[in-house]
């Protein structure tokens, strides 16, 4: 006879599996926009989005199991087994539920991205393990003190609220403490480790507070200590993220680029290598038009981090994978090349471009390349469009000088709150 099987059979946790997996599949499907990227980091981070389902489920299931085992009362308190071993045995159904959901999230993420997690993606997978485990511990303590019919929904709702609600608040710091991370890594920039470590510390502090709060003896003193621990945890967490703003900190990805062709050479992260030749060919005509308009052609088009200033002769290219519902129009690539022209021209002048899209110079370059004029007009203000029409009437040489001046001036850059 296997006690774990007996525990699982008599537990309510297995009933949560199917609805939770269904919810995870809907959720991950909703955040999948492009064709599979074959990017290991994205795979891990996509799986970690399932945290919003897994953490509340793990917390509620563990609270329920704690309530079940509370019913045997003195037998537990007179056990010879250590508290950790008793927890692992008693919470086994909840922990198995959590494991099944985490595996489901990884499989669904693999389906969406085409690869298993890799590189920094494993940090995101660790996050998927640590954070729900922390909430499971909180659920265990609460379920051991409060009737399970109250504890389970309270911790589930509390967990979900803590993960989701801060993202709807104006305070930017709170959203970084819960662990539900808005914004993923790109092929050029990776989330900093602190993005994960801060929520781990916060959930550990909250678990310690829950342990103190639900202790059987000296309730008054322990409640006071619990409140102090919770307050200190949140304060320390806020201080740790005070300069992050609304976005999570990232750093440039260090990876060997895959380069193809000449004039221009196109260098992309290895995940985009299948698209490199296509990008090079489709850039030919637009670059020729810009060259004819007086804008020197680049030696290299490079998909790189905004944190990494391009060398002279290199245009930083911002390009995204085709959408799931079909490839984006040619105009999107023309827009991408126009923006690259602005940044590359600024680099040639020794100026580091702010990489903010939507400048008048980029709109001019988009028209030169041959994009639909109406879509360009809709993308700029009426005043800018009017100014652009006047520029377009100038001789070609003057237009090119104007473009170079505008790109180097960085007038289109605005101060953005971090």
């Amino acid at each position: 006879m296997n006690l774990t099987w007996a525990n699982l059979r008599s537990s309510a946790a297995p009933w949560i599996v199917l609805p939770a997996v269904f919810y995870i599949s809907l959720y991950l499907g909703d955040i999948t926009y492009s064709v599979p990227s074959h990017y290991g980091v994205e795979s891990g981070e996509t799986a970690a989005f399932a945290m919003a389902v897994i953490a509340p489920a793990a917390a509620a299931a563990t609270a329920w199991e704690a309530g079940r085992y509370r019913l045997i009362g003195p037998v537990r308190s007179t056990s010879t087994r250590s508290p950790l071993v008793r927890f692992l045995r008693a919470a086994a159904p909840a922990l198995l539920l959590y494991l099944v959901l985490a595996v489901a999230a990884l499989v669904l993420a693999r389906h969406a991205t085409g690869v298993w997690p890799g590189g920094a993606g494993w940090f995101a997978v660790a996050h998927l393990v640590v954070l729900p485990l922390g909430w499971a511990v909180i659920g265990w303590f609460v379920g051991g003190a409060v009737p399970r019919s109250v504890a389970a929904p309270v911790v589930a709702i509390g967990c979900w609220g803590w993960l989701a609600m801060p993202h709807a608040m104006s305070n930017p710091s709170l959203r970084h403490l819960g662990g539900f991370i808005d914004g993923g890594s790109s092929v050029t920039d990776i989330r900093d480790a602190a993005v994960y470590l801060v929520p781990w510390g916060v959930v550990a502090g909250l678990a310690a507070a829950a342990w103190l709060m639900t202790g059987a003896n000296r309730r008054g003193l322990k409640s006071t200590l619990a409140a102090a621990v919770a307050a200190a945890t949140l304060t320390a967490g806020c201080l740790a993220v005070t300069d992050w703003g609304y976005r999570v900190p990232t750093h440039p990805r260090v990876v060997a680029m895959s380069c193809t062709g000449q004039d221009p050479r196109v260098c992309v992260p290895p995940e985009y290598q299948p698209y490199a030749e296509q990008l090079r060919k489709e850039a030919g005509e637009p670059l020729n038009r810009l060259k004819a308009a007086g804008v020197p052609a680049p030696q290299e088009l490079r998909i790189s981090s905004p944190e990494t200033p391009p060398r002279a002769g290199t245009w930083p290219l911002q390009w995204s994978l085709p959408a799931l519902d079909g490839p984006s129009g040619q105009d999107q690539y023309k827009t991408d090349l126009a923006e690259a022209a602005v940044a590359g021209t600024a680099a040639n002048a020794g100026v580091r471009d702010c990489r903010q899209p939507g400048s008048v110079a980029a709109a001019w370059a988009t028209l030169v390349i041959g994009a639909d004029a109406r879509s360009v007009q809709q993308a700029v203000s009426p005043a800018d469009w009017s100014a652009l029409q006047q520029i377009r009437r100038l001789p070609a040489e003057e237009q090119a000088e104007w473009f170079e001046r505008k790109a180097a001036s960085q007038e289109h850059c605005v101060e953005v709150a971090p």
Partner: protein, 189 residues
């Protein structure tokens, strides 16, 4: 507090003591959804037995309390008296040396009480049982010794016969134990 050579104020000794002793509270709790066998085996594991050994010992413990036919029944299907016997079984599974029973016959009808006391009698020689009760009716020849406590102090310690000997001379037949209890507490007051 000492149990043999075990000093219960020391953590390691307390662990060994917990393996040797089993406490049956007034209202024993059971794991919802488990069968009698599973629950008894789980308690055996909690008391330090290996899982496999607990699984093998559970049916024997349940047989000793006369509930073999309920081996694979869910505990929620048992009567109050049967649940008390399962509680004894969970104490027997890990071969405890001493059972501490707190008001074990509360809520049992006379038939269930008689079966319970007969069960305790059958355990004589294999385990020590210490029963705490307010019900004089629980006293019979099953017990070797009686201690009467009042306000935390012992008022009497001796055999059941010696206890009954304190009854008032003019007490009604069949009420000697109650009379003895009243006399002892009255003397204490």
């Amino acid at each position: 507090m000492l149990y043999g050579d075990l000093d219960l104020s020391r953590h390691r000794h307390a662990q060994r003591y917990r393996h040797k002793a089993s406490w049956l509270p007034q209202n024993p709790g059971f794991l919802p959804g488990m069968t009698c066998r599973e629950h008894v085996a789980y308690v055996g594991w909690l008391k330090g037995m290996r899982e496999r050994d607990a699984g093998k010992a559970a049916p024997d413990a349940i047989e000793r309390v006369g509930l073999t036919d309920k081996l694979n029944s869910k505990i929620k299907t048992l009567s109050g008296g049967q649940r008390q016997r399962i509680a004894i079984a969970q104490a027997l599974v890990h071969e405890a040396e001493v059972l501490l029973l707190d008001e074990p016959t509360v809520g049992l009808d006379p038939h269930q009480r008689r079966r319970f006391l007969d069960l305790l009698a059958s355990l004589r020689g294999t385990v020590h049982a210490i029963v705490s009760t307010h019900d004089i009716g629980d006293l019979d020849q099953t017990f070797d010794s009686v201690i009467v406590l009042a306000s935390g102090r012992s008022r009497f310690q001796g055999t059941v016969e010696e206890f009954a000997g304190h009854a008032a001379p003019d007490c009604a037949p069949g009420r000697r134990l109650e009379s003895a209890y009243s006399v002892l507490l009255g003397a204490a007051e």
